[in-house]
Symmetry: C2
Subunit: 367 residues, 2 copies
């Protein structure tokens, strides 16, 4: 592993000092911020998420705030999913596409008020893009970055912890719904969401000066359930089939290629960015789709920076966009972005680190 040099281009999170106190050992960068990726015990951190409860600094999931009389109109213009029935307090997973129908982010949209929406984004700059479209269309809406920094509490025991801290009302929150509240004077929003399939919540810290205090409140509340630090878990997210925008996508990827077709409403108005291109792509049928790959061999792989070419015979048919050792399957697994003629069950070769590995395509999720 290489070191990462400090720079003011890379902001620390409000939970930075708390995660240092927890013994963070590695970071990634995401939305020009640092996100913890390891506390030095990867397998234990994985099983904690699967069997217990894990506390994550995911402040890098930044918010793009749309505020003003035209906020709702802009939200719909930016999202290829119908928002007409979205209620205050509700969140929705939405594809953001450019005018050519290519995916440029896959945020959770949160409707805080009729004139205030947040896009809780993956790792790409949506402020410039959304601001440009709002201004070009002459809309009365401000696009900005609010003081809002999510912390995730994930795992089968997460609900116990969050209920112990905030009250039993959290048990009634539906998936992606949220409520604004406060804890010991710290303003927060509590949402049932998070980038795992193990269940849990995201607590949006709404006062960046109180990160350590909030971290420690959650940590204290979680002590009876043996809470510990973790982070979006590479192995669990791959096993669970969760997409990583920018990792599993390229500049030409459209939502239909990466299992997001269910979140595209082709009947949204014509002024939605990219919708005409998406209708055409849908009518023609996507050229690629996303499957899983299970590689032969029993030696855990190292994480890498690159995609790996997938071949059938001597022909490139696509790319393996991630590769990780599955603690449950005891195999190296990953996602395949391949031509639609490739199907689950097909044998493939994967070119990885100069070696040709044998693998089999499979449906997603793995588990």
């Amino acid at each position: 592993m290489f070191g990462i040099s400090p720079s003011a281009r890379l902001r620390p999170s409000p939970f930075f000092e708390a995660t240092r106190a927890e013994g963070v050992t590695a970071f990634t960068t995401y939305n020009h911020m640092l996100m913890p990726t390891s506390y030095g015990h990867p397998e234990a951190e994985y099983w904690r998420l699967l069997n217990g409860v894990s506390q994550w600094d995911v402040a890098v999931e930044r918010q793009v705030q749309l505020l003003g009389p035209d906020a709702g109109r802009l939200a719909q213009i930016l999202c290829a999913r119908d928002l007409s029935k979205c209620k205050v307090g509700q969140g929705k997973y939405v594809p953001l596409c450019n005018h050519a129908g290519s995916l440029i982010n896959d945020p959770i949209l949160l409707k805080l008020a009729e004139d205030r929406y947040w896009l809780s984004i993956a790792d790409s700059n949506i402020w410039f893009w959304a601001g440009a479209i709002a201004a070009e269309r002459g809309l009365d809406v401000e696009v900005s970055e609010p003081d809002a920094s999510p912390m995730a509490v994930q795992g089968p025991k997460a609900e116990e912890v969050v209920a112990a801290l905030f009250g039993d009302w959290v048990r009634g929150l539906k998936y992606f719904w949220f409520r604004e509240t406060a804890i010991e004077g710290i303003p927060v929003a509590v949402a049932r969401s998070g980038w795992s399939k193990q269940g849990g919540f995201e607590i949006y810290l709404l006062d960046g000066s109180q990160g350590t205090k909030l971290w420690n409140l959650v940590k204290e509340a979680g002590r009876p359930w043996d809470i510990g630090p973790g982070n979006p878990n590479f192995c669990e997210r791959v096993e669970s089939g969760l997409l990583s925008y920018g990792g599993d996508t390229d500049a030409q990827t459209n939502p239909f290629e990466v299992r997001m077709g269910a979140y595209v409403d082709l009947a949204v108005p014509d002024d939605v960015v990219g919708i005409k291109a998406l209708r055409r792509i849908h009518a023609e049928g996507p050229k690629r789709h996303q499957l899983g790959v299970i590689l032969e061999g029993e030696t855990p792989t190292e994480l890498g920076f690159l995609w790996h070419e997938i071949r059938q015979g001597n022909r490139k048919v696509g790319d393996m966009t991630n590769c990780v050792w599955s603690y449950r399957l005891k195999k190296n697994i990953g996602f395949a972005l391949v031509g639609t003629d490739c199907q689950p069950g097909d044998a493939v070769e994967v070119v990885k680190d100069g070696q040709v590995l044998q693998g089999t395509l499979t449906a997603l999720p793995f588990i």
Copy 2:
């Protein structure tokens, strides 16, 4: 220093293997790629740049290509600087501003042909923004990322090295001008440019599969002048007063605040993004400006992730946006983004890592 976890969201450069062979020890991330920041000998790398010639992997300076009949029109719409006299083969340093007149990047614009321009960008996503404006205005132009990866050769002996490799014609290149050529079958563009004040060139590799070969050609050519690896040098760029977009700027920074007023042409047409806001800001006078700070004390500081508050008396007057030990001044120095009532010569206090340090404001550059 913390480790950086591998992820396909962070692409390696075409020179990645070459820099590993050179002994790279640390990286930063920039435009979702890895950029070397150290080869383990920071002071030696600094003096090599000052006195000799240094070879840098700056492939992270990505290109936003504007291609098509309306490329020139789009270039002018995006840039608050008059491009009407820009010739093929010429480059210009340009501020990119959003509709509110805030700086969103400070690229070198390269005019490759009447219908082909590149914006060689700093660390923010301009593809989405430029593509949105082109599409909203119905322009006939494609916005894309070409296969173009700069390597810099910097320092007083850089011209000798680049002339030895490409021929004496490079000595005639004017600042920011460039020429497309090839070396041993590798297509490149050679520009007189680079993010230092020590002089030199950037060689844009135009075939990403040949990074190691190009690296080694330059290394061989530089052997008589004792070339060695380096990177955009934090100390040299601060001493020289070079701006780091995103490091020294915030979401509200306008070009006049950070010594870029000379690159804004207020008379460009009204359809240039942000020009109306820039005229208003200029007429009102900017609220902040950029100066230097020299701190008291003789102990070299560590680089950090944060800005440091600058005070006069008990009042915050701005921020110190970087802080580095100057090998030439033998002081810790950095940039101040402060109210326009603050002037060179003023005594200030800087709050850094919980300590209050005494400092003096100064004009930029330091040297």
